[in-house]
Symmetry: C2
Subunit: 322 residues, 2 copies
């Protein structure tokens, strides 16, 4: 049995808890939190909730730590710290900072294996971008996200004065997908590829026109997109838009000589955090196996052979799936 620790108990941490309980080759040992452990109630209460400070005394009891904190705040510090003591897996997703994060974790993972930036993007989508380019060198790759809820964009709207609550759906444009699938290899701007649909609950008496202007002009988040802002009631938002669906696709089309070839990978997820967690748990298994073979250091999804992800024996994979 692979002994699992979870660091951070938000949506992803809860997803990891469920995925580990469903895995026959894994057992959950403890959940670690920066909050008051007494205030954290697990979905299933059979393992202790401990302060992150206690983790350092448990290196013999845990085979791999699944780091479920956020990239913006927790992981920059927790990634290197835990990798110095444990095998780890995380979903560090600030794309621009991945190289420096990889280096920082690698410097600490002297006798451990730390798989960084797993999940689906970065993660499965990254794998597809690398695979597609390698097997079809003359072509162009496109990534589309959605339809789904972007937590980052939803949070950005919630910081606008006068906003009581908000959910933002990222929606890929059908016409852009059709162009890409045709093999035309179009040049597409950010605006061409996605729409942003904002569902906003205004505070009583708030200026809705001002809220709309503040959202649609927000740089990086909305200004570069066609953004639709709709105001709805709190009841409707909570009832119909509390789920966390997401998905998207990676498409590459290209040529071998004169022939057009297209490759496509897509996800349709009812629960983004549960799927992210499920991917992380597969990479947790891989981290332990690579550490057993002394393949130490920080690894990415580009470095992990697929056979390490499966609980099944290699012969069985070959016989049943090859």
């Amino acid at each position: 049995m692979i002994r699992i620790g979870i660091v951070g108990y938000g949506n992803i941490g809860r997803g990891v808890e469920k995925a580990v309980r469903a895995a026959e080759d894994m057992e959950l040992v403890a959940v670690f939190t920066r909050r008051d452990p007494a205030a954290v109630a697990l979905e299933s209460g059979s393992v202790p909730v401990l302060s992150v400070d206690e983790a350092e005394h448990m290196t013999d009891a845990i085979d791999v730590m699944v780091l479920c904190g956020g990239s913006a705040t927790d992981l920059a510090e927790q990634g290197p710290y835990f990798a110095s003591m444990f095998n780890t897996v995380d979903s560090f997703d600030t794309h621009a900072r991945i190289p420096e994060y990889l280096a920082a974790v690698n410097a600490c993972a002297k006798e451990t294996t730390a798989v960084i930036s797993t999940g689906w993007d970065p993660g499965l989508f990254s794998m597809m971008r690398a695979l597609f380019e390698a097997v079809l060198p003359a072509g162009a790759t496109y990534t589309f996200w959605g339809k789904g809820v972007s937590q980052g964009h939803s949070d950005a709207i919630r910081r606008v004065p006068g906003v009581a609550h908000a959910v933002q759906y990222t929606i890929p444009r059908e016409e852009a997908i059709a162009q890409v699938r045709s093999g035309a290899m179009p040049e597409l701007t950010t605006r061409d590829k996605h729409l942003r649909h904002c569902l906003v609950v205004a505070e009583p008496g708030a200026d809705k026109a001002a809220i709309t202007e503040a959202i649609t002009s927000m740089p990086h988040y909305f200004a570069e997109y066609d953004t639709i802002v709709d105001f709805i009631e709190m009841d409707e938002l909570l009832e119909k838009h509390s789920a966390m669906p997401h998905g998207g696709m990676v498409v590459r089309s290209g040529k071998t000589q004169d022939n057009t070839q297209s490759i496509e990978f897509s996800l349709a997820l009812e629960s983004n955090p549960e799927f992210t967690a499920s991917v992380m748990v597969a990479y947790a298994r891989a981290a332990v196996r690579m550490a057993d073979e002394k393949l130490f250091g920080a690894k990415t999804v580009f470095d992990v052979p697929l056979s390490y992800l499966s609980p099944r024996a290699h012969e069985e994979l070959v016989k049943d799936l090859l």
Copy 2:
């Protein structure tokens, strides 16, 4: 530069020739054939065509042999033989015999790296089946092939008495794909998943009813499917059905707790052999790199980290694609 040899010069061999010429980090050294070398004209005539018997003298001149023979006849013998002297890659695709082939090649690949059963199925589709199952354990995986030309089925029709020429299209059933995508996890028989459409040119005076009966009752190939037989003229067959398009998809849908999650990978190929060849060439690069690291033996697509497939530096993959 990675120095490439090609063994066998049919459709796949020609595809490999084109892919190698397009790769900046590879050069083609020679093509080996079991036929009379003088009778083999390359697409581009700048490298020698040699008898397969001469290969054993060229172990210092070639880094990896791309084995382009067929599974039924050539590879069972050529795979182990060449792996004893060279790094190799092949597209051995007789699914039921892969375990014994893997063992036979592995026994010979003492100081070489031999990646077997690459291409797209087995190959990319196998990778997706393994990956999808690992990241979404509670679910069901479905593989669909087509729309595309099946060489094996076309050949089987051509052996029927009274048939002058034939092409067989494998067509996935839209209703089966829709069921699978819905997350219903249906139980689907062979007949439920695919149609077989046969375009047949009859010899003058042949009994078309007898040909149709011989095709539709043929065990393994057609009896288990809904099979449509249409007779057409030779001119039309040659003009409209000489291309080798293919494709298909691997779909897995499953649950994380109560949420349905779906993953899909699909290919739409104008040239099946050129794409297969392009995948093989990426794995040829991987074979050389693994051999450089003394990762010897027979390998499958489950064993090769994705970073080995790309000509790009690891840092660049991390920066641009992760």
